[in-house]
């Protein structure tokens, strides 16, 4: 095997350092972007959970009316979806595509309102865990 020249050794080390720094910056920018958006989603979820009456309605229709009223109320205060697609809050659809990322969904099950959320990557969030760990009031 041919010995590695000192110039090749230096080049290898420089490439490694450059790759590490560039990747580190990429990860930092990615994390910053995600944390800022996720903070908004978490605040929206916290708002929805705070307004969630958590009681059983007399009928499914009454629960749906309360849910639609809640969405109108929440949309009046926070209409913008932080991921930029669709509204921030929406009514649960039994059919149709999955709600876009950063959306809070409100639906009815067994005459009770149900609130759940989709994170910045469009994955369903752990609502119970979010209830236990509310987001900080202010990031920046």
């Amino acid at each position: 095997m041919t010995p590695v020249s000192p110039a090749a050794k230096r080049r290898f080390v420089r490439i490694l350092i450059a790759v590490t720094i560039l990747y580190g910056l990429f990860a930092a920018v990615l994390a910053f972007r995600v944390v800022v958006r996720q903070q908004v989603v978490r605040r929206h979820l916290e708002l929805a959970l705070a307004h969630d009456p958590r009681r059983t309605f007399a009928s499914r229709r009454a629960a749906e009316a309360a849910g639609h009223g809640l969405i109108r109320q929440l949309m009046a205060t926070s209409p913008r979806n932080p991921c930029g697609r669709g509204p921030a809050f929406q009514w649960a659809q039994s059919k149709g595509p999955k709600p876009p990322a950063c959306t809070i969904v409100i639906g009815v099950r067994h005459r009770r309102l149900l609130v759940w959320a989709y994170d910045t990557q469009g994955h369903r969030m752990d609502t119970i865990f979010e209830r236990l760990n509310p987001p900080p009031r202010h990031l920046l």
């Binding site: 050794k9 580190g24 990860a27 978490r42």
Partner: protein, 279 residues
Amino acid sequence: MLPYPDINPVGFHIGPLPVHWYGLLEIISFVLGTLWLIRRGRRAEWSWTQEQVMDLEYYLAIGAIAGGRVGYVLWYDLPFYLGHPLQILEVWNGGMSFHGGLIGVILGCWIYGRRQDRATMAILDFVAPAAPIGLGLGRIANFINDQLFGRVSHLPWAIVFPAGGPQPRQPSQIYEFLLEGVLLFLILILYSRKPRPVGAVGALFVLLYGIFRFLVEYTRQPDIQLGFVLGRLDMGQILSLPMIAIGSALLWWAYRGGFTTEPSEPRKSAAVGSRAPGS
């Protein structure tokens, strides 16, 4: 489903001072790692005195803490710390990143090597097998501290962690203890028993840690302020991907003889820089 062993995070008191298991395990791992390195350093192929090991540990500890904290700030919660910069210094409130700590340790080895005329990769080869001691005990400390638990699961060995709500979760700290602690330690010990090219042991640590961490993250609850960051990947996986690539590149380069040391290097007797893989 298994019950959570409700261990008091406070191990004992020294007078009015509570001693937490977390801090105690960190100190134990540091002492064990140091003693083990002192013993390892006595072997002829390494030639490290006790004083040199203690001196190196100082650089490693500073590098690990500073790098770990900077990494956490940069990659896990930068917007928060931009708004609360003084809290960056509050390391006792938690928030350390392994990947940042690793960069800090490498920098520490580089600075130490410059001062003591030792090659950085040779120092990393020397310390790498000791790292899983701290990593493993750190995961046990996470388990006792009821933190960094796994995702919701209904596996027979899932555990209800008090801080995670009423749902059973994967005991991901135990997986990490077994992989990043026990298995990684055994592999590195066995691998470094024979003379290897300079840089190969350190490279194997980087590669295997990257693989193990990437896999275990699939069971771990993502940090709440981040969630998933790129598709189904969380930040631990995003940061472990380059470890797999760089670890592979380092291993290949080590076997090419790219890290062979100067004749003045004390470890030269252990280095077989130009040996072919598997030989």
